[in-house]
Symmetry: C2
Subunit: 509 residues, 2 copies
């Protein structure tokens, strides 16, 4: 119990008023209101109101669309994630901002199309980033993160797990709004970290010991410990936990105990993947159990999804979708997304409206009863060169508040989403999706009827293709900057091959 | 007379041997040979041999394809340029590396596809360059210029006029191989410079007075003076003069005397443009006269063309071509190119083989009897950050030696050329040209039959379009880097509009 009942009653009424207003407003007006009103809300240290829920964002990494029991897998076991879906809404047509890790995370954490600020290519920490300086490789300083927004209205904030948004000065999670961080700055990690030989840290201090030997379990330990601690010492404040598992991203490594549960899977890689997913599922279950123990389950809004679709290397399975991570086919950018907030969001719902990972920001802020920070010039300590000044000057927030849809009060609106990566550009506009490719003629699919993107409608409806091209051209011309860095040409070649050669298939056995 | 006859005889035989070998070799082998053999030729200060001609490159700026008497204009007067064409070969299907000034110049001066090293967007010195540092804006330090190559084999080198390849440290023409420079570093200039209020310099010293009040005449003065001086004090060395007029680029400014010659043109802007072209033609004529006076005409290889097609703003006329500067239509990238070397290249020839401004390097070096410098790591003083190290590591020289074609010894080979700029990507492969656009479906034209690019063959021959896409995809995937800087989204919108709205028209009156 966070506060006295009398106080809760008064504040909850105020929040309901805000939420009603938000639900009745078109998204543009809603966001304008946020921007205008935002300075009023920057009263750090105290929650906006007592009804603000905790927010738990759990991210999987390179998970295939079909790799949950609730999305079709017959061989994997994800009982706890399936139960999480049953406790809320399973969204079948959610899309991430990019089909590779780093720009996808840049999108979901800012609520902004990452191409707006040049975050197009994946972030590789080595020699594959051309055309810029190492100290510029990361989320541009002018961009606010979910933790910035929620921290500004009084949330305690923590990131456990994978960051992948920059390693240099100015990019550390604790410089980007997270009060607590335990994990790694890069994009991947061995699952059996050794003391003295790992890239893990807790709040800047390298780790020399681990509560669990397997990384996924260790991250779960850290997350549950931090959540428990908030209940003990910070009970007056709501919290935001971004539990950013690197599972089931490669390398393919699992414990012997977990592997033993999947001896029915012959394919060795798929068996390991199943064991990794099982550990991830166990982690989600343990966090849910802890919330129950603390009596915080109904006071916590949970969102679960994967940063992008299944990769070719990790034995994932994209179910009925074609393509892979790195492509703009459904298998690259469409992911299952679960929302759970018992008592507020109804349970046992399926939702097939189009939504985006860019919607997290307005949804979280609407739930919290706060306003996003205004977009403006970057932080003063980063204000020394032209690039940094310019980067945050263009654009706006791109998402929409999902609460009215998730609660069933609003039908899913028509959406238009865009992507650009490694020689590919795509638009989803209503039912139609066009992918313009560097190595072949454009294709138009209708994923609602053809999730496997087999039936190319480009030739049969050139009028529609022309409409889509006009929207796509307008979007591309609106992007204020070229990509801030590139990636190896290898990845463009890979994207082209993966686009062409990964039709839907049966679950690997 | 540069050298004693006996010495000339011996060396000329050696050169003929090299030229014969070059003519008989496929271009790839030819270039490999250059690269392998190049270190042997870096004997700066002495010419490779006595037959090495002077090389005069005259560049116009934003000139329309139809704006010469010899390419169709009935209203303009370009008698001296027309005569230059008659003295050699007028090439009707030459293409520049980009349809805007700065990357076009980066291509012609390096002999390399500028996209290979990230030089894709135009270089604006102000706020329109995003995503990088001002001190990186320019020709990457690892790239060699024509002046580097020719200087290394003993040529005296000079640039008079417009540079537009960077203004910061490391980018000044005198740091990029030019021993002499008089002109401006940026992309444009008033034609009536005032002492104390101009951006002109001579070898780093700001100019305070001008031999002629009109800029085009002043550049002509400077070029003829430098050429005369070479004859006086440097007679044992051949020279390379890059006479880089900014005419007829905007602003539209001409002298009253020149304007008076074009009162038959009613359109005020076109009349001014005609007067500017007349001053350019006068300049070319004066340089030719000086070469005649010095007895160097037959000892000088001359190349004349424009950095890109006519712009929308300067009242230029692209003749039978569609599109403008900034588009990848013929009117943006195809320019008339004149080669003259009396006694070596036959006179009064028309040539309709495809050629490229990237061919200048191998052609100049073949004429000079030298080898291009090897591509390798950048200069050591620029070796401090990852970008600069990486930029020159990828790729090769892209052009072909034109001498066998120009002399009539070889038929024009089939060529494949590529472009990418402001949301547009294009390939010319044999007779077919495909333009892949951000705002509309791809188009395929056959410029040999349809110079105005009116007949889109994309739908009628999808097999061919698919072939072209495969080549285009392979090229794009081979580009080692993202653009080093961007340009304002305004320019992408402009390119889309100009692509759509500039069909061929009659000469403006």
């Amino acid at each position: 119990m966070r506060i006295a009942i009398e106080y809760e009653f008064r504040c909850a009424s105020a929040v309901r008023g805000v939420l009603d207003m938000v639900r009745n407003c078109p998204s543009k007006a809603f966001l304008s209101l946020f921007v205008l009103a935002a300075p009023l809300c920057e009263i750090a240290g105290s929650p906006v109101n007592a009804a603000s829920p905790n927010i738990l964002l759990v991210l999987a990494d390179d998970m295939g669309y079909g790799d949950l029991g609730c999305t079709g897998s017959l061989l994997l076991k994800t009982d706890r994630i399936d139960a999480l879906a049953k406790s809320g809404v399973l969204c079948s047509r959610a899309y991430v901002a990019s089909s590779v890790c780093s720009p996808s995370r840049a999108g979901l954490i800012t609520g902004r199309d990452p191409r707006r600020f040049g975050y197009q290519a994946n972030l590789n920490m080595g020699s594959e980033n051309y055309g810029t300086r190492v100290d510029l490789l990361g989320l541009p300083p002018g961009e606010h993160t979910l933790a910035d927004h929620l921290g500004a209205i009084g949330y305690s904030t923590a990131l456990v797990g994978k960051w992948h948004l920059g390693m240099g000065d100015g990019f550390h999670p604790q410089e980007r709004g997270f009060q607590h961080f335990c994990g790694m700055l890069g994009g991947g990690h061995t699952y059996f970290p050794k003391p003295g030989n790992n890239k893990l840290e807790r709040n800047g201090v390298p780790l020399t010991g681990f509560s669990s030997p397997y990384l996924t379990d260790f991250f779960t330990d850290e997350a549950t410990q931090w959540i428990s601690k908030q209940d003990e010492v910070n009970d007056e404040k709501p919290w935001f936990m971004f539990l950013s598992y690197n599972a089931p991203h490669g390398p393919l490594q699992a414990t012997e105990e977990d592997l033993a549960l999947f001896s029915h899977i012959k394919d060795r890689k798929r068996r390991t993947y199943a064991a990794m997913m099982w550990a991830l599922d166990r982690g989600v279950g343990r966090v849910l159990d802890r919330l129950d123990e603390l009596g915080e389950r109904e006071n916590t809004m949970i969102c679960f999804f994967s940063d992008n679709g299944g990769a070719t290397g990790n034995a994932s399975w994209n179910g009925e979708l074609s393509g892979t991570k790195g492509t703009l086919r459904e298998g690259g950018v469409r992911i299952p997304m679960i929302w759970s907030w018992p008592g507020t969001i109804p349970d046992a719902q399926m939702h097939d409206g189009v939504m985006s990972s860019l919607d997290l920001l307005p949804t979280f802020m609407a739930a919290a009863g706060g306003m996003p920070l205004p977009l403006g010039p970057p932080r003063s300590h980063e204000d020394k060169n032209n690039r940094k000044k310019a980067v945050s000057l263009y654009g706006e927030y791109d998402g929409e508040n999902l609460l009215p849809q998730l609660s069933g009060e609003q039908v899913a609106p028509r959406r238009t989403l865009f992507w650009r990566l490694q020689g590919q550009v795509a638009i989803l506009d209503g039912p139609d999706k066009m992918i313009s490719l560097s190595h072949r003629a454009p294709q138009v699919f209708r994923p609602t009827e053809d999730a496997g993107e087999r039936d190319d409608r480009f030739d049969s409806d050139r009028t529609r293709a022309d409409e889509l091209f006009q929207l796509l051209g307008k979007w591309q011309a609106s992007l204020a900057t070229v990509p801030l860095w590139g990636s190896s040409p290898y990845w463009s070649s890979q994207s082209a091959k993966q686009h062409d050669n990964y039709p839907p298939r049966a679950e690997p056995e």
